[in-house]
Point group: C2
Chain length 238, copies 2
Amino acid sequence: MNQLNVCLSPSLIPLYNVEDYVVVIIDIFRATSSICYGIENGAEAIIPVSEVEECAAYREKGLDYLLAAERDGKVVDGFDFGNSPFSYTKEKVAGKTVVLTTTNGTHALHLSRSAKKIVIGSFLNLTALCNWLKTQNDNILLVCAGWKNNFNLEDTLFAGAVVDQLKDFEFKLDDAAIAANDLFQIGKHDIDQYLKKTSHGERLKKLGIEKDIEFCLQVDLTTAIPVLTGEKLVKLIS
Amino acid sequence: MNQLNVCLSPSLIPLYNVEDYVVVIIDIFRATSSICYGIENGAEAIIPVSEVEECAAYREKGLDYLLAAERDGKVVDGFDFGNSPFSYTKEKVAGKTVVLTTTNGTHALHLSRSAKKIVIGSFLNLTALCNWLKTQNDNILLVCAGWKNNFNLEDTLFAGAVVDQLKDFEFKLDDAAIAANDLFQIGKHDIDQYLKKTSHGERLKKLGIEKDIEFCLQVDLTTAIPVLTGEKLVKLIS
């Protein structure tokens, strides 16, 4: 029977034989939500990097990249935009390659590099992602990017939403998958409200990005599944 | 405000400034349950070690140690008993020092060594432990020993039970504390039943230790709080 496992933090990735899994990277606020929205809106590719400097380096490559970098909720001087999903509209990203600075998400991606396949998940593409996962007939590892290498509730809740759609199929769940799904059952009727009690929610509120949060919690707004090819995330053609 | 944090796996301990916390080590099946029961029953001290060889070495010290070592649910040849709490009765352990072989629990203890204080928790001493924690006026870190460095449900559920007793006091909860407590709310009415669906439950069932599990899930059977002093766990005199 195939495994359906949840990795609650990037620190725990080394405990899995990643090469035996199809991996889903989850960084709900806001990297993977913005990536799903951007790919849906026709971005040719999105390149996730860890550091602002790494992102800036693409400018010097002289190609037509859009550079996204934020610090403390503000667009860094000289960059095209930040990490808000509202920056990833058709008007802005269609046909473009975006270089996105995201610490937690990039870290999770790098540690998962040896996986059979790496795709990107968010509430925006939840059902499309799950429908595709059902067809894979393979072990699935849902990797929560978390916060500074530790557990966070929003990524875990999304992992639980995926488990909820897959659990009646032939998968063996690990303890973290069971826990994530149980937490999703508690939170699913009002995820926004549920997450308000978390430390992260407070932090994000301070950054003044409540509208981003609301946006990222919309379910099934998109159907594109971003997949990693080399260093680029592109639209999966299934 | 003091922190009440839950560390979901020993792999995550390095993310905390352990020296700022009173740490509770949790390894419900069965190390910390047996330790609580043994100290309650008058064991002078319990010394947790990682390896059977390390445990055996105490024999050569020529002192009157009881040696506890198990592999695959069976007492290792030449040892006095295994990890079952039923071995830690008054008749067997009163006045004795027990050397206990426990991989996950010892690992968690070692990584927490720089904490202000390290105590041992289990369902057996739940309320006594919580009452003492309330008097500490300090940051509290509940460390789940987990399973092979990863998350498990039984340790998390117990952490949630502690959060449940402390949450109305002046503590700031992190996401993991919130999650643990929510999981406890789901499981608390029949913890044994709730844990039956976990992978660990299956594994333990195979070892034929259902009676141990039942024993370990008894709430408030004991009041002693084991505390680490040097390499030994002894009864806390408060």
